[in-house]
Symmetry: D2
Subunit: 121 residues, 4 copies
C-alpha cells in the first residue's frame, strides 16, 4: 500500500504480514488460496443474513452484531493480505473504481433504480 505509511490500513497490512511470517504461512498465501479464504469468510457473513428479512438485517441483536462484525473483520483481513501479495493499493483501487461507477451510473439516470450494471449498457 503505497503512500500512506501512517494509514490504518497500512498498519493492518504490516501487522498481518508479520503474523504470517511468524507462522511460516506465506507458503499457503498464494493469491489463489487467499481468494478462496476470502470468499469462505464472505459466505459466513451471508449465512448470518440468509433467513432474515431485510428489516431484521438492519436491526441485529447485540450478540449477532458482534459476530457479524468479526466476519467483516475476517473479510477485511484477507482482502488486505491479498492486496499485499498482489501489490495492489486498496484505497487507490477503490477510488479508481468509484470514479468509474460515477461515470457508469450517472445519478440523473439511475436514481432509485438498482438494476444490474449490464442492464444499462
Amino acid at each position: 500500500m503505497s503512500a500512506a505509511a501512517q494509514d490504518s490500513l497500512e498498519a493492518l497490512r504490516a501487522r498481518l504480514a508479520e503474523f504470517a511470517r511468524e507462522r511460516d504461512w506465506d507458503q499457503f498465501h498464494s493469491p489463489k488460496n487467499l481468494a478462496m479464504a476470502l470468499i469462505a469468510e464472505a459466505a459466513e457473513l451471508v449465512e448470518h443474513f440468509q433467513w432474515l428479512t431485510q428489516e431484521q438485517s438492519r436491526a441485529l441483536p447485540p450478540d449477532k452484531h458482534r459476530e457479524v462484525a468479526m466476519e467483516l473483520a475476517d473479510i477485511q483481513i484477507y482482502l488486505i493480505r491479498l492486496a499485499d501479495k498482489l501489490g495492489v493499493d486498496l484505497i487507490t483501487a477503490a477510488n479508481t473504481k468509484i470514479a468509474l461507477n460515477e461515470q457508469r451510473y450517472p445519478a440523473a439516470k439511475v436514481r432509485g433504480d438498482a438494476r444490474r450494471a449490464e442492464e444499462y449498457e
Copy 2:
C-alpha cells in the same frame, strides 16, 4: 468508522455514502442485500483464479492484474458500505480479530501448518 476522520477508509466511507444518497440507493442497501453483493464480487475474484496454478496466481499478466485490482476494489467498496450500515469500525474490528487469532494460533504451535481453525480445538 469511529475515530479517524483523517483516515483513508473514512474518506471512502463518506464518498460511498454520498454516492448512494445521490442515487437514492440506500433503500436497496440493507445489510442482507449488501452481503449478497459483496459475495458476488468475491466470486468474480475467485473466477479469475479458478483455472490457474498457484504459481500463475502469483504472477498475473498486467491486464489480468488490473482486472483483479478492480475486483478487490469492489469487495472493499461493499465491505465499507456494509460496515457503515451496521455501524462497525473496520479497523477496530480487524485489530480485535487479529488479537483473537494471535491467541488461537500461537506461532510456536502452528508454524508451517495451515489446518483449519476448528482442527486445533
Copy 3:
C-alpha cells in the same frame, strides 16, 4: 454415481466426463478448481437476486427466469463434475444428509423457526 445407470444424473455425469475428455480439460478439473468454479456460478445466481425483494424473487419475469435456470444448470454441472472426480454419489449423499437433518431438526421442535443449526445445539 453408483447404482442407477439408467438415472438422469448418471447420464449427465457421463456426458460431462466426455465433454471434458474431448477438450482435454481433466487436467484443470481438480476438486480444488471445481469447487472454485462451482462457487463462482453460485455467485452469479446470487447476483440475480441481490437487489430484489423476497416477493420479487418469487415472481421473476420470463427472461430473468431463463437466465436463472441457466445458472442453476451451471451449478448442477459443476456439482456433478466434482462428485464424479471425488467418487461421491450425489443421490446417496443427499439422502444421508436429509436423514441427518431429520434428526437434527425434529419437526415438533423447529416448526416455523429458521434459526441456524448451531443455535439449536
Copy 4:
C-alpha cells in the same frame, strides 16, 4: 421437475418439499434466501480445499472425504429446493446448458485451454 417421476432427483425433490412443509419452513424458502443458503454451503466446500494443493484435493483422507461429500449433499439439496420453487427442471436445464457449451467451446478450438468463456468471444 417434469417428466421423470421415477427419477432419483424427483424423489429427492418430493422428500425435501415434505421436509419443509412439516417444519413450516416454506415461508423462509424464497428464491432469494435459498440462493444465499446455497452459496453459504458452496463456501463450506471451498473452505475444505482452500489451503490444499491441487494434488492434495485429489486425494482426500477418508474423514475429510466424508465431510466433503456432506457439503456436496447440502449444495444438491438447496439446488433442488430452489429449482422446485422456481419451477425449473434441473436435468433439462443442465442438458440445455451443456448443448450451449458444446457450441461455445468447440473441442477443436479449446483443447487443453481453460481460458474463461468471455476470452473466446
